[in-house]
Amino acid sequence: MKNKECVAMLLAGGQGTRLKSLTKQIAKPAVYFGGKYRIIDFPLSNCTNSGIDTVGVLTQYEPLILNDYIGIGDTWDLDRKYGGVSVLPPFMEAEGGGWYTGTANAIYRNLKFLNQYDPEHVLVLSGDHIYKMDYNAMLDYHKGTGADATISVIEVPWVEANRFGIMNTDEEGRITEFDEKPDNPKSNLASMGVYIFRWDVLKQYLLEDAEKENSSHDFGKDIIPSLLYDYKKLMAYTFEGYWKDVGTVDSLWEANMDLLKKDPELDLNDQRWRIYSKNPNQPPQYIAPTAHVRNALINEGCRVYGTVDTSIIFYGVHICESSIVKDSVIMPDVKIGKNVKINRAIVSKGSVIEDGAVIGDPSPDSEITLVADEGSVLAASLATHT
């Protein structure tokens, strides 16, 4: 069988505790975004749009939900005979087995999977970010520079640089130093958590790292520093465009609100770079005679009889008469009764909001309210910040 030029490994293990109850039952990459998507739709769609047709999804936590969502991969055109998408949970082996102990360990434990395809390069992705990126252009750069590894970076404001992993480079873009959250950053080029490695190089370092007892088996903490120490050629590839970590409730809300800006930086209607997502196959949305809708994204299967203002409404949401949804994100299949007021909130999938409930704090700088576990019923009397 032919080998693959580049295989992607998507680290989808994070439990995302900062997302609170949103990730109680689902892994972070499965969290909803943008009225229709899950976070993982972005890296997977990027792969298929970049012509990368072989993706391993490394998942630590509740593999069944991601397994079920990813299915045979047809959503992202990754239902390929040879290659395609494979979910790789921690598994048992003849010599034992167990949890992935770090990002590098997760790849190390799936050496056999990678060896099947005998790739020349391996693309390592994380499942925590919203962005559209042509990995193929990055691969061309990686091959063109003859790098052992290439790390995608983005310019961040200097004042925020101390929150990121910062790459210091020479004038050719070769990485000379890696500063994890530096107090005095020498550069504002932050790592996006997107790496391309030559497979032969990565394999060698993974094997060596696995032997090290005091290693945390992490790309950022162990593998990249080892490569730098050995003067391997690490190049920085500068990405320009929208890129957002949605690791907290606030940042998730913000990223959603970014879509409602005029001419949003992240264009979801681009026919040449579609973001694929599992389709719930529901009828078109219905906006009733009593409805008022402004500044909103609304998905299929919704029925709106009330007011929606500056909000994101996922599929299958019903909003009854005289209710107001403002500055909020309403996840799939939420049923909102009459005379409900929702402000600056994220309402989880399948929640039922009973008549007259008041949720969230309308004042501009207030904390974002996160409503409840999936499928909970929120009576008017119980509606408070959770």
């Binding site: 229709k36 389709n279 219905y286 909103a296 998905n299």
Partner: protein, 368 residues
């Protein structure tokens, strides 16, 4: 569960939707914001656990093929059974079959090879949500040779004039099939028949030079054969003219009519397009409207249906209209009682107003 195979016979369906059927057959006409007419017929079959469906296509079937692909949207892209789109391409000089019997004859392998014992044949013009397994149970209990499906309508509309109506006795046995206005039992162009009996009737029809299987092979045989009538109680629309297309589209804006067609446990499936959610800007004003995904609405829309990817600029006013896929309406344009086919563009300030009983129709890809 009994195994049923399905045939969607488009052979005698006339393409009466004016501009909408210049380039496509009626079964391929967009309907209901994101569907094509044929989606209802196919979804009815797959929701009834029919896993093998043949489509007898005759004319203008290209967009039908593009839409149906290999049946993936209905999980019909299978090794065993699946979806078979069968355009006319027969080259047998000894073939004496005519009319839709050409289809039955040249595609007899479909009937021969299926493991099903029963065949459901339907058209594409009766929009409904029917479970054929229920109809089959009644068919088997009745002991009939053929079971036809009908809807008792409250009132005969123009589209029902052209449809066949049924006279039925107390045991739901069909006593006559006619075009009279005396009966409101509208035959829905659907019948259930045992495979072997269908095979037998086809052979007979061909030998006798018939050209219309239902009229010559079934209707004409009354009262010699036992035809049972199965009553369908759900939502129903017959679309066989521009006027009925327009009026029945508007019916979808009635929540009750809507719910009778679209059900969670028997969904209407269609090809996936991967559009983003629809976007409403600060200037948008939308009421009593069905909106498919991928739209960007800055203007005023009421009592209308917007298909996928429609763009309506600020200041534009749309009333009682059906705007199909990827149309763009520029600022301050006014559309009332209008149907725009796909990919039309209406420029700034343009006003188009049709009559409620005769909408103004614009063929696809027009810029005005």
């Amino acid at each position: 569960m009994d195994r049923i195979a399905g045939i969607i016979n488009l052979d005698h369906e006339q393409d009466m939707l004016d501009e909408l059927t210049y380039f496509r057959c009626g079964a391929a006409v967009p309907f209901g914001g994101r569907y094509r007419m044929i989606d209802f017929a196919i979804s009815n079959m797959t929701n009834s656990r029919i896993e093998s469906v043949a489509v007898f296509a005759r004319r203008k079937y290209r967009s039908l093929m593009d839409h149906l692909e290999q049946g993936k949207a209905w999980d019909l892209d299978r090794k065993r059974g699946g979806l078979f789109i069968l355009p006319p391409d027969w080259n047998d000089p000894t073939d004496i079959s005519r009319g839709d019997l050409q289809h039955f004859h040249n595609n007899i392998d479909f009937i021969n090879r299926t493991l099903a014992d029963y065949i459901v044949v339907s058209g594409s013009q009766h929009i409904c949500n029917i479970n054929y397994q229920d109809a089959l149970q009644e068919h088997k209990n009745s002991g009939a040779d053929v079971t036809v499906v009908y809807k008792q309508v409250k009132e005969l509309y123009p589209e029902h004039q052209r449809a066949h109506k049924l006279d039925i006795d107390a045991n739901n046995r069909v006593t006559a099939i006619h075009n009279d206005h005396s009966s409101t039992n509208v035959y829905m162009d659907m019948y259930i028949i045992e495979k072997d009996y269908l095979y037998h009737l086809i052979e007979k029809c061909i030998a006798h030079g018939c050209s219309h299987f239902f009229l010559d092979g079934i209707k004409a045989k009354l009262p010699d054969i036992h035809i049972h009538a199965y009553e369908y109680h759900g939502g129903h629309a017959l679309v066989n003219s521009m006027e009925s297309y327009y009026r029945n589209s508007a019916k979808l804006l009635d929540p009750q009519e809507h719910d009778e067609l679209f059900k969670d446990d028997a969904p209407v499936l269609t090809k996936i397009k991967n559009e983003a959610p629809s976007s409403y800007t600060a200037t948008s004003n939308v009421t009593n409207t069905m909106v498919a995904n991928g739209c960007v609405i800055e203007g005023h829309v009421e009592d209308s249906i917007l298909f996928r990817g429609v763009k309506i600029a600020e200041g534009a006013v749309i009333k009682n209209s059906i705007i199909m896929q990827r149309c763009e309406i520029d600022s301050n344009a006014v559309l009332e009682n209008v149907i725009l086919d796909k990919d039309c563009r209406i420029s700034t300030g343009k006003t188009l107003i049709g009559a409620p009983e005769k909408p103004y129709v614009v063929a696809k890809r027009r810029t005005m």
